[in-house]
């Protein structure tokens, strides 16, 4: 029996349906988590995110999802803002506490180039990762103005006009990617396959 992949719907909508389609294309079973009780029904969790750090944390709190996300030992994959809010602190529209699962802060991208960083870019992996297996040098779609500042859990970096930022992290059961695998054609589907097969 294959794992059930839960996708957390905490009211920011956005790319939830395309993530579901991509997980299904990757051969996985997907369940939208829009109630607390759904966390027990899934084997792995995807935490999407479109919006601002502050708004996302508020909506997670309103949905009572903060506690189950903090306490679970199931693999969690945070995507874009979903990865950012795994951090301790965010600085988008004021200072906001994140889930605090990864020792990191989320700050505006420090680059002398156009921000948001939008478009296809590649990864340079810094250590082995089952999630990124076979995906080194492959292009993924990025769309963000903030970056995760972390030194201990980096799996991949990406270069944008001379500036290297964290594009993938992993710590125990926690995975995070700054890009959008659900918007990255076959490469993204492959990443979901890797997540399903962890």
């Amino acid at each position: 029996m294959s794992d059930i992949i839960g996708i957390v719907d905490y009211g920011v909508a956005g790319n939830i349906h395309s993530i579901k389609k991509a997980v299904e294309k990757a051969g996985g079973k997907a369940l939208i988590i829009d109630h607390l009780s759904h966390f027990d029904k899934v084997d792995k969790v995807i935490l999407p995110g479109v919006g601002s750090f502050k708004d996302a944390m508020q909506k997670l709190e309103n949905s009572n999802f903060i506690e189950p996300l903090k306490s679970t030992t199931k693999p969690i994959l945070g995507i874009c803002l979903g990865m950012q809010i795994l951090s301790t602190l965010g600085f988008e529209y004021g200072e906001t506490k994140g889930l605090g699962l990864i020792q990191a802060e989320v700050k505006p991208m420090l680059v002398s180039a156009k921000v948001p960083h939008v478009g296809y870019n590649t990864l340079e992996t810094s250590r082995n990762s089952k999630l990124l297996k076979g995906l080194e040098g492959v292009e993924f779609y990025f769309m963000h103005s903030y970056e995760v500042v972390n030194y201990t859990d980096i799996v991949a970096l990406t270069e944008y006009r001379g500036h290297f930022f964290v594009s993938a992290i992993q710590k125990n059961n926690l995975y995070g990617v700054q890009f959008h695998p659900e918007k990255s054609r076959e490469a993204g589907v492959q990443l979901f396959k890797n997540f399903i097969n962890l």
């Binding site: 395309s18 991509a22 708004d55 870019n121 944008y160 990255s184 076959e186």
Partner: protein, 251 residues
């Protein structure tokens, strides 16, 4: 970092249409079929703009798009008659990754840019500007080049950025649909002025026009419509040509 090649579908429900010089509309096909076609050709993004909804104060009809938006794994920008944060929400729900706003923001309520950026993040807020050239400046027009706004294009672009826009889509009322090249000075002025990405549209008549605007203005993306609609070139053709000219594009 590669330049984004974006397929732009102008919609008059239920069809994709091509405005000629922002005046007559020719039907060119079905939105979902064309979206699929350009996806298969390697488009980096798709833009759906309902170009009549604002003018006729109609709600946008996007059932067609919803069918394909979640099946194609590239970003979708959707726009047309966006007037409220609720409209943004609706469009994200049907599969938009970015929402394109124009008329309401420039003519009535620019504050919608601030509010939507705060909720959805600035990367999701695209401000579309239709520029009409006068002697020494450009004026913002709306509703397919029919309605004047009195606002200077560069002033408005800067204001939109300051309010929280994450990207500007710049169109030229004069060059659109004429296949006669981009308004190069307009494109360059906007790119140089802003710190956010700029996508240029309007005027690609051939591959050389695309190369010219990329080299001269260095936009972050380029939106193509008629060249693709009339099968003059495919997205593979455009990318291969740019690659041959040492311009970085995605695979």
């Amino acid at each position: 970092m590669s330049i984004r090649i974006i397929a732009k579908l102008d919609i008059k429900p239920p069809n994709v249409v091509k405005p000629v010089h922002f005046e007559g509309l020719r039907v060119v096909g079905n939105p979902s079929e064309l979206a699929k076609k350009y996806y298969d050709q390697g488009a980096d993004e798709l833009l759906y703009i309902d170009i009549v909804s604002s003018l006729y104060q109609r709600d946008i009809v996007y059932s067609e798009i919803e069918k394909v938006a979640n099946e194609l794994f590239i970003p979708f920008g959707i726009g047309g008659a966006v007037r409220s944060v609720d409209d943004f929400s609706k469009l994200f729900h049907i599969g938009a990754d970015k929402v394109v706003i124009n008329t309401y923001a420039v003519q009535e309520g620019p504050d919608i840019i601030n509010r939507s950026a705060e909720i959805f993040g600035r990367q999701a807020v695209v401000v579309n500007i239709e520029a009409k050239k006068w002697d020494t400046s450009w004026e913002c027009y709306t509703d397919c080049g029919r309605v004047r706004s009195g606002k200077d294009v560069l002033d408005w672009a800067k204001e939109a950025e300051e309010r929280g826009a994450g990207e500007i889509l710049i169109q030229s009322v004069d060059a659109d649909g004429r296949n006669n090249g981009f308004d190069l000075e307009l494109c360059k002025a906007i790119v140089d002025l802003l710190d956010i990405p700029v996508v240029v549209a309007s005027g690609a008549g051939g591959l050389e026009d695309i190369k010219e605007v990329i080299e001269y203005a260095q936009p972050s993306g380029i939106a193509i419509a008629s060249l693709l609609h009339y099968d003059k070139f495919t997205i593979q053709d455009i990318k291969a040509f740019l690659r041959d000219n040492n311009i970085e594009v995605s695979k």
